[in-house]
Symmetry: C2
Subunit: 392 residues, 2 copies
């Protein structure tokens, strides 16, 4: 007897990247494949202290059921941080989620009928393709240039199909490390004004800027038509699974209903621990420390690539975040290269996984946040050798 | 400009019960409305100790990203507990979820197309109606009798529509407190054999039995066509949001894909803390303590109702769990009664919320786990007075 699964299951599969990560679990492999923050900068002692404080001061309350919206003082802190960055948001516009990944699922639930349009950057964050994919939308990919997407191409896409959602990672994008310029942000905002398309600004890396100045949030241009996603995974730790959505009241009302049906509320004990940690520590100082460390690692990776990679391999120099993106000669398959590299015990993510509509077979994503200099040097040297061998 | 939400959002609303709970937040109100475990029995110190242990011994690891399936040693413990209860399950058949509520969402995602049939007990757990409702199924409600659903009615329902899912809470059901007899379980299993319908056995209260012997799991009759949901919310604490699904490999493969797209993985720090707690403590002894306490509270509530309620109000005497269910005279509306009772500062949940297809207007759910004897006596006495006034 064959089992009857939902139609949506035929188009979604286990993440290719997660399968790759399993291959790279072997500690002998130097992996630039994962998207892991460097655990050296997890505030372990501070979190331990916060847990002790919460459980000794309000143990029973922190272990009970709680509200769908999330712990109000934590939401207030998030709203206050937005205010400091010039983004107007109240605590009632903030919903706590299980990492920002859950925010994608909730946005899909609230907005997408089968066949609805979703605009993506090309390439884009793989797990967004997967998450929205469950709602069987039609994806429209708009090419990413060095400083954001091509606004003319966006205009053409919108004319064909005024899509419900436009998903973007405007700062230090995963996978490319690309950041929108101010001009591009403005141009995109212009194209979207007078449209009903909701712009999802996913900004998990925004705080990790090494160079240059923060750009404005799209909320400043689009107001209620911009929904902001944020995460504590990269600035505190991912194991606490704490992210959020910031949306206007009308959308928030729907998101709360969807969240309630999905899991009632996010982990309350960890919300309280996180809040206590943020009360007791100087998060901005902590972020500055991570930023310095990642800048060092990024500089060293870029430098090593400049020294060792063939000239016909180009790559981005991200202003922040955790990833850089390399483009091999057109004829070279990064999937083939991956197989060769694994034998030399070095790994990366072949880029084609990040294209919703195919392509990108000569691209690759490299993570620098989770490797120290020694391993970066050794891994990049091995990778350069593999590329040269693959070319010949 | 009106915003374009997904069609599914027009049929789902904020939980009526959650709205009621807001009314009852006033501490002057004696509330039998919530479904909260008694925080007095939360193992606060033990959880604090476990958190300290985890963060000092493996802090970095416990704060990092983790696998979608969940922490293997925790899944092994769950499989071992099943074995002790005579249910065969391996750790690879267990997926950790954010409470068992998320399990409902994942099951909906994996199985339900719009218009697919879902069989429910009548009445049933409200949040299941909500969670499955997002997938726009057709609900078929089969009346619940004193010892489980009516098997003949199930047969008629299956002949009309071989539904994809049958959702059941076989032990001390929420809202009614009803438990399936062995005969009823067998009869239901017989009707379902040779069918493709997947039986969802949601068993969050199963460990809280006061009287009698545990019945078998439907998995023992239906094998791979039974999916089991479990939760630590009632035996440890709900604030840690830890539940699980136990399903055969073919279904598990799909559930993992759905979980990955939903939120990557459940809160890892709390998985590790829970595991540590279960290692260091005697959970069975802890459960026995909760069981004794709830039995006392249930006995006292039943006794007080017997003494004070008019004779034409009937109610269940649950063998375990957290709720009992009262049926008022046919002509009396529990919604009206609720309004009157709130003025007298006592609350319950009017029963109609638990009917997917309407009805139940003279029923009500009463929770006894979250009130001590003094409040039970005072609240039930007030409620009896309100019922008598409503009757006259």
């Amino acid at each position: 007897m064959t089992r009857l699964f939902a139609d949506r299951m035929s188009s979604v599969h286990r993440s290719f990247v997660r399968e790759i990560l399993k291959v790279t679990e072997n500690p002998e492999i130097i992996s630039f494949a994962g998207g892991l923050p460097n655990p050296r900068y997890f505030p372990v002692q501070e979190v331990a202290h916060a847990a002790e404080e919460v459980l000794s001061q309000c143990g029973e309350a922190s272990l009970q059921y709680s509200t769908t919206e999330g712990y109000l003082p934590l939401r207030e802190m998030i709203a206050e941080r937005y205010a400091k960055k010039g983004v107007k948001a109240t605590a009632s516009e903030v919903l706590i989620t299980n990492g920002s990944q859950q925010a994608l699922d909730l946005m899909g639930k609230v907005f997408l009928n089968k066949g609805d349009g979703v605009i993506l950057e090309r390439p884009t964050y793989l797990a967004a393709i997967q998450s929205f994919g469950f709602f069987e939308p039609v994806f429209h990919s708009v090419p990413l240039e060095e400083d954001g997407i091509d606004p003319q191409e966006l205009e053409r896409t919108l004319c064909k199909d005024e899509s419900k959602l436009f998903y973007s990672v405007p700062n230090f994008q995963n996978p490319t490390g690309i950041t929108y310029s101010r001009d591009k942000l403005k141009a995109v905002a212009e194209k979207l004004s007078e449209r009903r398309t909701v712009f999802i600004e996913d900004n998990p890396y925004g705080d990790l800027r090494f160079i240059g100045e923060d750009g404005p949030s799209m909320k400043n241009y689009l107001g209620e038509n911009a929904v902001l996603l944020g995460s504590f995974s990269k600035i505190v730790a991912p194991g606490i699974r704490m992210g959020w959505i910031c949306a206007c009241e009308e959308i928030m009302e729907k998101l709360i209903v969807a969240k309630q049906a999905s899991d009632l509320h996010s982990n309350y004990l960890c919300q309280r621990i996180l809040h206590q940690y943020l009360m007791d520590s100087d998060i901005e100082r902590h972020i500055a420390k991570i930023r310095r460390a990642y800048k060092d690692q990024r500089d060293f990776m870029v430098h090593t690539m400049e020294e060792t990679f063939p000239e016909d391999v180009s790559f981005t120099r991200p202003e922040g975040g955790m990833f850089l993106w390399a483009t091999l000669p057109e004829s070279m398959s990064s999937l083939h290269l991956f197989e060769r590299a694994i034998k030399d015990k070095v790994a990366f993510v072949p880029g084609q996984a990040f294209y919703a509509d195919g392509g990108g077979s000569n691209t690759m994503r490299l993570n620098y946040s989770n490797s120290d200099k020694e391993r970066i040097f050794e891994g990049i040297t091995r990778l350069a050798k593999a590329i040269k061998e693959e070319a010949s």
